[in-house]
Amino acid sequence: MSNLISKYLPLFTDKEVPYTVQARPDTGLYSAKLGIWLFLASEVMLFGGLFSAYIFLRIGAEPGYWPSGLLNVPVGTMNTAILIISSVTVVFAWAALKMRQLGKYRLYMLITILCGAIFLTVKLSYEWPAKFNHFGAFIKKESASKYEAFLGNKHLEATGQSPRWEITGHLLDAPKGSSYAHQAERNAEHFAHETGRHDAVTPAEDDYVIQVDAVNANPSDKDNDRPHFWPRETSTTLAVISAKDVESASVFAPRHSTYFATYFLITGLHGLHVLGGILVFLYLWLPFPGGTGLYKTNPEHLANRVEIAGLFWHFVDLVWIFVFPIFYLL
């Protein structure tokens, strides 16, 4: 009994909150580690809720309304690799601190931060804008036969595959009053510049003109039944679609379909978590009193903080490990 008292007493008469750096003997944990794992448990439930929504919406989607092959796989793979590398470097940063190697800690932490920043930059300056610049129009089922040249449903039916209801590509012309008019104008200029065709089609006021993706240019080609690893050039074929044949049409924004809604929400929330992680790492890397400044007085405490932040970062990587295949590949 007296062992117990002498073991605990200094901490309690201290009147400060104990076990912030030293572990409590019976649980073997310092409090922040317990706290972060509880937080991660709640994050598992948060992303779990989002993933269950993904599952629910995907299995509930009518055939032809859940696309695949619309995301850039090489870029996604590269981003995945970047996050994995950052996961390695953050644990090296922690190990360096435990070994009291300040220089190595700062190096590895910096690499981690940079990797995270690259991940976000790729997403926000390339991936997402590319989506916002890509257009898709869902054709009404009763009008689909008119656009068989772009949909290829006879072939799909014959081979037992899901029907195709969407024509995707770059928007060159939109119906009057559309909010995509500016984008269409820009794309039309670019198209004219590229191909020399200035007015290949004279559409009526109420038409969409889409410079279609490869898959819509040759929809019955077996090669187009499966997505490709390397993204392919948009074709030079133009589709003229009457607005009254369109069920819904928009750029690849959250509003486009439940697929993009889930994609943007999950990757967006994930991205916010990446940003949060970067900010915490920055704080721990810069000479703030609670960051690198803490090394001088209490390196073990700093090591614990890096461990905690690292655990969060690994969780963020973990989420991406699932996000990548389910959106980019499957």
């Binding site: 009147k15 400060e16 909150v17 912030t20 750096v21 030293q22 649980t27 073997g28 944990l29 580690k33 317990l34 794992w37 509880l38 448990a41 598992v44 439930m45 779990g48 993933f51 269950s52 599952i55 629910f56 919406l57 299995i59 509930g60 989607a61 009518e62 309304y65 796989v73 793979t77 995945t80 690799a81 994995i84 590398i85 996961s87 390695v88 644990v91 090296f92 190990a95 435990k98 070994m99 009291r100 499966r226 690893f229 439940t258 209490n298 390196p299 073990e300 405490h301 690292g310 655990l311 690994h314 990587d317 973990l318 490990i321 699932f322 990548f324 295949p325 389910i326 590949l329 499957l330």
Partner: protein, 126 residues
């Protein structure tokens, strides 16, 4: 009732050895190799995930199953090695098991409710 200070340690300014290389340095260093190996494995498995997604396993669903299996292996590696779950205290494991059970409940029961409507009706979204 003023704000308590949240401190921390066994008083480092008196303990000049806090910046010395610790006794378990060799052990930590050996883990470093393990981390590198796991990192490499993860990169390889990423490639595997991508590659397998272009292989036809019969149906879309099978491809999803295969993809999820690989993802789970990768996640397991990250959790066990990077997050130090291997050898972690039982308290943490208890939380995670409970979390896993409830997350599984959320997925499974929601799916069950969707797939088991009143006979003759269906839960359509379209």
């Amino acid at each position: 009732m003023s704000a308590p200070h949240t401190d921390h340690s066994p008083h480092p300014t008196q303990d000049s050895s806090i910046h010395d290389v610790p006794a378990n340095a060799a052990e930590i260093a050996s883990h470093a190799v393990e981390y590198l190996k796991v990192g490499a494995a993860l990169l390889v498995l990423t490639g595997v995930t991508v590659g397998l997604s272009y292989v036809d396993f019969g149906s879309r669903s099978m491809n999803i199953v295969v993809g999820m299996i690989v993802a789970t292996i990768k996640a397991g590696l990250v959790a066990a090695i990077f997050m130090h779950l291997k050898g972690e205290k039982i308290t943490i494991w208890r939380f995670l098991v409970m979390t896993g059970i409830f997350a599984a409940g959320l997925f499974f029961l929601t799916y069950l409710a969707h797939s088991d409507p009143i006979s003759g009706t269906f839960h359509a979204t379209h």
